[in-house]
């Protein structure tokens, strides 16, 4: 970002115009703030400034984090924590009670393990797929000498859409009367109800996720590509290195720190898949083919006939531990990339 000194006069002028209405409001805040300052002194004012934000963080993040662990050790269907009986490790035992972890049907909560399996496959395919398409697109855009800004905007556009919009747009595209089936009928004389078939619906959930989020990762990789100095390639060209070799020997190694961070970010976000898959598949269907961990937590806690807050929290804690491992490895990788 540019130095503030150069934009100062313009920014001040603009904010004065916009700010006239706000100023009236602010004068109401300013007077008590000034009085408070006289009372407690300048040195204590920063505490006053951080107070509202910290109160909100405490109420809505720190307290829930503490409670999440507490909930996981309680049973019953009451929401308020002090009404809930302590059950020890019961919830974790129930979730982990499994004949064979690879066979969800042998588990006491087979829906949880189905969700774990689905999430695992989704995470694997989505991470690899997004990584591939984001890298390819970034390489392509980096190569274009004309229209780069336009294509960058086009590929990024889906990222800004809402999960509900993405789910509905694709549900309509893949519908029985949808465009894709129109073409299939025209060319192959067949019609597939994509979202009602287990294999197809899973493939489309991964595809739609890639379509939705690819642009974000592409931008990060593109920024990494553009940070690679040009003269390295010029030197390679003088040496007569082929483009293929340049990619494997120069681009990829130099991009590796960037790609590692993107991969971990992708893993973290993939494990939490919910919104667009839920809308696209009308709640995780067909059957439980697209039910993921977050959906399991959401349904276990909030569907009226279950309300098993303890069990849901235990699942949250298990997922949180997995995410924490991933996040810490991201921080570690980011630190390594900086050095």
């Amino acid at each position: 970002m540019s130095a503030p000194a150069s934009i100062a006069p313009r920014a001040v002028a603009r904010s004065e115009r916009v700010g006239e209405g706000l100023d009236a409001v602010m004068r109401v805040v300013e007077t008590p703030m000034a009085a408070l300052q006289r009372l407690i002194g300048v040195a204590r004012m920063p505490y006053v400034f951080i107070l509202p934000n910290m109160v909100l963080f405490t109420i809505f993040v720190f307290v829930p984090v503490g409670l999440a662990i507490a909930y996981a050790f309680t049973g019953g269907t009451d929401l308020l924590i002090w009404d809930r009986p302590y059950v020890g490790l019961e919830n974790f035992k129930a979730l982990l009670d499994c004949g064979n972890y690879l066979e969800p049907a042998t588990c006491r909560y087979n829906l949880f393990w189905t969700a774990v399996h689905n999430t695992w496959w989704y995470t694997l395919l989505n991470t690899l797929g997004t990584l591939f398409f984001a890298l390819m697109t970034a390489l392509v855009l980096n190569r274009l000498t004309w229209g780069r800004g336009f294509f960058r905007a086009v590929f990024f556009y889906p990222v800004l859409l809402s999960p509900v919009v993405v789910g509905l747009v694709w549900q309509w595209f893949l519908a029985r009367e949808g465009l894709l089936n129109g073409f299939l009928t025209e060319w192959l004389d067949t019609r597939i109800i994509f979202l009602l078939e287990v294999g197809w619906s899973r493939a489309w959930v991964v595809y739609v996720s890639i379509w939705f989020h690819m642009g974000f990762y592409m931008l990060i990789i593109l920024a990494g590509l553009q940070a690679i100095p040009r003269d390295i390639y010029e030197a390679a060209q003088i040496d007569g290195t082929s483009q293929w070799r340049q990619f494997w020997r120069l681009t990829l190694p130099l991009l590796m720190p960037n790609l590692l961070v993107v991969t971990v970010l992708l893993l973290i976000r993939s494990v939490q898949v919910f919104d667009e898959a839920w809308v696209l598949t009308n709640g995780g269907g067909p059957g439980t083919a697209n039910t993921f961990i977050v959906q399991f937590i959401y349904q276990t806690a909030f569907s009226p006939e279950l309300r098993l807050y303890g069990l849901a929290s235990a699942a949250s804690v298990l997922m949180g531990i997995g995410l924490l491992v991933l996040t810490l490895s991201q921080l570690w990788l980011a630190k390594k990339a900086e050095v």
Partner: protein, 347 residues
């Protein structure tokens, strides 16, 4: 123009890689544009057209004609007689495989023909009522208003409270400053999906369940916002603040009159993201809001697909209304958004 299009880095001919790159970019553009474009086109179709298969690529509607002596406008069909001659007819009624039709030129004489001889005439038609009807039939305006309310209030509060925190963290030395900053950054690592049950209990405990303020207050404090603004404020010279102190300005006045105006570019980036986050937010409003009167657009839209006998012509129109503001914002601010993402990794 062609020369400009085909210009490459080597200033020579397009080699295979260039062709592949252009192919990828153009194919990708189609992949992005077609599903969205299809939803937009479909949102302008009549209900009958939406349900007809195979789908037409342009929105059409049956052509109708008003005939004297008939109470309703009649649909127009082409009749292909067994002898091969073609004739334009208007359909009066249809029973089983036989249809009663008339020749618009001689409206008094009706005659019966087999349905198999008829094919319907359709004309280009945009069904704008898909956009106006939901306003009357469903709570759509209510959803829209709720979303605008949440978006505006949450963004205003986010900008105010996060910049206040960032001001304290960047312009003062006080005990615990680094700990507070680390604590705020650590919340980045705690996704909603992990804490949704206790977060909901907190909302119930504060009596904010099924209340728009429950959606707003819990999302106001963002680690991203504090981080972004703090980094920017660090570049503002402290001399400005010292000078204001000499002039006996209160600390809050310094924040409001000096630091905040200088932060306008960073505030703008945060405002853009904040608006998009709130407009698109789904899981948290889904948990907090339960009565349709409090639904936001996203929740309302999601509920519609289960609620009715899937009225796609309305759902698609509302989907387009929902994606339109984000699209317009992106069209105008595309450069700031993509650069903001690329430089800070915010999403």
């Amino acid at each position: 123009m062609i020369a400009f299009l085909t210009r490459t880095r080597q200033k020579g001919r397009m080699d295979l890689t260039d062709w592949l790159a252009w192919g990828w970019a153009i194919l990708g553009t189609l992949v992005v544009a077609i599903p969205v474009g299809w939803a937009v086109i479909s949102s302008l179709k009549t209900e009958a057209e939406i349900n007809s298969f195979p789908p037409a690529l342009v929105p059409r509607a049956a052509q109708t004609i008003t005939i004297e002596g008939q109470s309703k406008p009649l649909s127009v069909w082409i009749r292909k007689a067994p002898d091969g001659s073609e004739q334009t007819v208007a359909l009066v009624r249809r029973i089983g495989l036989a249809a009663t039709v008339l020749d618009p030129a001689k409206p008094q004489e009706t005659f019966r023909v087999p349905v198999s001889e008829l094919s319907q005439l359709k004309e280009f038609h945009l069904q704008w009522s898909n956009y106006t009807e939901p306003l009357k039939q469903f709570n759509f305006l209510r959803y829209l208003w709720n979303t605008v309310f949440v978006t505006v209030v949450a963004t205003a509060l986010t900008l105010f409270l996060n910049s206040l925190t960032a001001f304290a963290l960047s312009k003062y030395r006080f005990a615990g400053r680094n700990a507070v900053f680390a604590l705020i950054l650590s919340t980045m690592m705690i996704p909603l999906s992990v804490i949704m049950v206790p977060a909901f209990m907190v909302i119930v405990g504060l009596n904010l369940a099924d209340n728009l303020w429950g959606v707003i207050l819990s999302t106001v404090s963002t680690p991203t916002g504090v981080f972004l603004l703090r980094q920017y404020m660090l570049t503002i010279p402290d001399d400005l603040i010292e000078a204001a102190r000499v002039d006996a300005a209160s600390e809050f006045r310094i924040y409001w009159r000096i630091v905040l105006p200088l932060c306008a570019p960073a505030l703008a980036v945060l405002a853009i993201f904040s608006v998009i986050w709130r407009w698109n937010d789904f899981l948290w409003p889904l948990i907090v809001l339960s009565s349709p009167d409090n639904y936001t657009l996203q929740i309302g839209l999601n509920s519609l697909q289960g609620q009715f006998n899937v009225q796609w012509h309305y759902i698609l129109a509302m989907t387009v209304v929902t994606l339109l503001p984000v699209t317009v914002v992106f069209l105008f601010l595309q450069k700031y958004i993509t650069e903001g993402v690329a430089s800070s990794g915010v999403k």
